[in-house]
């Protein structure tokens, strides 16, 4: 029987990859966003001691207005250029997809009444949210992934409707994992507060210019982090409509709701690896070691 062994909030600012200067990324940086990058380092160190087979992540930057989509091509190799920050992120990626697990998730979601589709076009360019979070968690790309799109029901209906759909998706993805033989790491690829600066310094990694866009966003970020650190994950979901609206949060993607639900609303304290801002947005790297099966079903 498969299981979810670890879950993480794994935001995807391309700045973090830029600042690390990996060989896959063309632009070069001097430094930058060390707090978050060192947090990701600690997350990777913890994950290195955990045996797992597949990374499953939900990305806000694969935006699908009709249904939830799953990558369904076994291997991708291409160039990812960030449409917002192309000066920072031009990354040559090569990755494997756990297509059987993705297909099982797609079937389970369809059985639950969700609109779904497998993405079978080999020319498809994997979204940069998937690439950035995937790189920061596993830069070797030696584990296959399942990438799930963000179905934009928060835009079409409301955060409440989005959450219902994300919890149904979480039940389906969890059932698919449990019906497989996979040990899975689940990731929500998103920021917390998400109001950007609209200007960029001449040196993008000039940290003297970096801070949260406004105090009220910071307060919201701290409130969410405090809940996660205290194991109050159901409250995170309960407060999501207010948080999403007032912090202009990327949680409108559904990724955070899906993460809380697919993990079974863990009550153990989360490990906060880092909090930092990137071009004004609030980002936290947060992990849950789920190997002790004490959680309720979503």
């Amino acid at each position: 029987m498969g299981s979810i062994v670890y879950g993480a909030l794994a935001p995807h600012p391309p700045h973090l990859v830029y600042a690390e200067n990996p060989p896959q990324n063309e632009p070069r940086a001097e430094c930058g966003w060390e707090e978050l990058r060192w947090g990701y380092e600690r997350l990777r160190r913890d994950l290195s001691s955990i045996e797992y087979d597949t990374i499953v992540l939900l990305s806000p930057h694969w935006q699908t207005y009709v249904g939830t989509h799953f990558l369904g091509v076994p291997h991708f190799r291409s160039l990812s250029v960030d449409p917002i920050f192309p000066n920072l992120f031009r990354y040559r990626y090569e990755l494997d997809v756990d297509v059987p697990l993705a297909e099982r998730m797609c079937e389970e979601a369809a059985k639950a009444g969700l609109v779904t589709k497998m993405m079978r076009n080999p020319d498809f360019r994997v979204d940069y949210g998937t690439i950035v979070s995937g790189h920061l968690v596993n830069p070797a790309w030696d584990k296959p992934i399942v990438s799930i799109s963000s179905q934009r029901s928060a835009a079409f209906y409301s955060v409440e409707v989005m959450q219902e759909q994300m919890m149904a998706l979480a039940r389906a993805t969890r059932a698919a994992i449990e019906a497989s033989d996979r040990r899975v790491v689940v990731l929500a690829s998103e920021s917390l507060s998400h109001r950007h600066f609209v200007h960029e310094g001449a040196i993008p990694e000039d940290m003297s210019l970096e801070h949260v866009t406004n105090h009220h966003q910071y307060l919201w970020d701290m409130r969410l982090i405090d809940m996660m650190r205290r194991g109050r994950t159901r409250e995170v979901v309960d407060i999501m409509p207010e948080f999403t609206e007032q912090a202009v949060s990327e949680s409108d993607s559904g990724a955070l709701t899906w993460l809380m639900a697919v993990m079974g609303f863990p009550t153990r304290p989360a490990e906060l690896y880092a909090y930092g801002t990137v071009i004004g947005t609030g980002n936290a790297v947060v992990g849950w070691d789920l190997r002790a099966p004490t959680e309720a079903s979503p």
């Binding site: 694969w62 935006q63 699908t64 207005y65 009709v66 249904g67 989509h69 291409s78 160039l79 990812s80 250029v81 449409p83 917002i84 920050f85 192309p86 000066n87 031009r90 609109v115 589709k117 993405m119 079978r120 076009n121 020319d123 498809f124 360019r125 979204d127 799109s149 934009r152 029901s153 835009a155 079409f156 109001r195 950007h196 609209v198 200007h199 960029e200 866009t213 406004n214 009220h216 071009i279």
Partner: protein
């Protein structure tokens, strides 16, 4: 292009066209009669654009969001095989476009001169959005006319968008170019949330998502058909409230369009087609500057000449 003497072809914005950006008219028009009519309308609009003898196409795409100011495509020959993130099963779209990088830089300079943040993007593999790809493939299939592509800033309000339109006009006049503007965007933008084309062997049943959306679309087309561009721009906030899903960018394209074309109603409008496109309201509409037109109406919104920065109203 004809070899008409230069003095008889004065610079400026010589034509404009509004087109939808979803890929169906390009990739599968045969699946629905309305999609086919949109495809036919693209061709009619193309012919009329060419008749105006532009030497540049300026594309403003509501499907290319930006955050750091206003981005302008400046890769002289962007080449890629594009796949839409939603309708990926319709197939791949290979493209190679002809971009006027000099004019792109002039646009950025003009935007900065009016206080705006702006920058060019010229990177191999930059993800040109589906809407721009569809528009250029159908309106300029042989790259006969060079183009520039402009982003739609996520945070820009009416003032900033309007100023950006004026900056584009500054660049056109300073460079002495004859420009056809292309706005990529739907009218009502609510898609169906379930598949209407699941069986590829069958024709697709499509209609505008709701009667309310359809009625608003027809009101917009009544305005544009009469050449009332500024009236439409003045109505944009209400249009957004009534028939726009809050996706990444708002219904701000009319602000840019009136800024670059001219903030008045002196246009000859032509509605080439209005059809449902996966539930959205998709129209191909042309505007040609003219001395006639319905003239000035009562405009309520302030005019703005220069962008003076974020007022930090939420800080």
């Amino acid at each position: 292009m004809s070899a008409e003497p230069e003095e008889e072809r004065p610079p400026g914005v010589v034509a404009g066209v509004l087109v939808p950006g979803l890929p169906h008219p390009l990739l599968c028009p045969e699946r629905n009669p309305g999609w086919q009519r949109l495809r036919t309308a693209f061709e009619a609009a193309r012919q009329d654009l060419l008749a105006a003898e532009p030497d540049l196409l300026m594309v403003y795409s509501t499907m290319w969001p930006s955050i750091i100011g206003h981005q302008v495509q400046a890769d002289p020959q962007p080449t890629w095989v594009h796949v839409d993130e939603l309708f990926h099963d319709l197939g791949s779209i290979p493209y190679q476009f002809r971009i006027d990088d000099d004019f792109a830089r002039a646009t950025v300079a003009a935007a900065r001169a009016r206080g705006l943040e702006s920058r060019t993007v010229a990177y191999h593999g930059f993800p040109i959005d589906t809407g721009s790809v569809v528009a250029l493939k159908l309106l300029n299939p042989d790259n006969a006319v060079p183009a520039v592509i402009l982003s739609s800033n996520v945070y820009s309000d009416r003032a900033e968008t309007l100023v950006f339109g004026k900056a584009c006009r500054d660049a056109i006049l300073a460079q002495g170019r004859r420009v056809a503007t292309v706005v990529v965007g739907t009218l009502s933008n609510r898609l169906f949330t379930d598949w209407i084309d699941a069986d590829p062997s069958k024709p697709v049943e499509d209609h505008v998502h709701s009667l309310k959306d359809d009625e608003w679309n027809r009101k917009i087309l009544e305005f544009l058909g009469e050449g009332r561009l500024e009236d439409t721009a003045q109505l944009s906030r209400e249009i957004h409230r009534q028939i726009r899903i809050p996706k990444v960018v708002s219904f701000k394209s009319m602000w840019w369009w009136s800024g670059v074309m001219g903030q008045h109603n002196h246009y000859r409008g032509q509605v080439y087609a209005y059809e449902a496109l996966y539930g959205t309201g998709a129209a191909v509409v042309g505007l040609t500057p003219t001395e006639a037109g319905v003239g000035e109406k009562e405009f309520d919104e302030d005019d703005v000449e220069r962008y003076r920065g974020d007022r930090n109203v939420i800080a």
